[in-house]
Amino acid sequence: AQRVTQPEKLLSVFKGAPVELKCNYSYSGSPELFWYVQYSRQRLQLLLRHISRESIKGFTADLNKGETSFHLKKPFAQEEDSAMYYCALTSGGSYIPTFGRGTSLIVHP
């Protein structure tokens, strides 16, 4: 069975500090990994997917198959980055995402 683990419920940093939101997964095959974000009073929405290898709003994430991780990083956090972040996985060609429990990021001024 596939599983997504986000070990931190809460991450609190100051503006300008680097941010790393951790995500580990368990799946024996080749997964597709995603990060979704939910800003206050807004819907859950896609932030980025590993296959795109893109930087969105300054965030990047690298899939490390050896460590089964897909950590989300940003070198300089901004106050508007404060949100809930969910790591998600699809596998085996399935379109159904499995989510982690989420990490609340708070960026203080």
Partner: protein
């Protein structure tokens, strides 16, 4: 804007009184999902439709049912809500074209059982 709309945003129901949550989409996506999310927990998939085909998760209680009368609408029926069913219910859609597809979410319905 094409989107996923859930109604109502907040629903209060009495213990044991049937309740229906609704979801509509203008994205014309094949797949519609219902997730249950409790505080500080991952969204948990209850079931999903691929077109008209209903797919129930093995551990979804029988108390939860769903209907999809057409492409645009999907309903979650809770036949006899218990206190443990209080949660945020998320509807989502996707194209269902494989593992790279993005899921689009509604804003959720927060269910309170009194």
């Amino acid at each position: 804007d094409a989107m996923v709309i859930q109604n109502p945003r907040y629903q209060v129901t009495q213990f044991g009184k049937p309740v229906t949550l609704s979801c509509s989409q203008t994205l014309n996506h094949n797949v519609m999902y219902w997730y249950q999310q409790k505080s500080s927990q991952a969204p948990k998939l209850l079931f999903h439709y691929y077109d008209k085909d209903f797919n129930n998760e093995a551990d979804t209680p029988d108390n939860f049912q769903s209907r999809r009368p057409n492409t645009s609408f999907c309903f979650l029926d809770i036949r006899s809500p218990g206190l443990g069913d209080a949660a945020m219910y998320l509807c989502a859609t996707s194209r269902g074209t494989g593992g790279l597809t993005e899921a689009f979410f509604g804003q959720g319905t927060r269910l309170t059982v009194v």
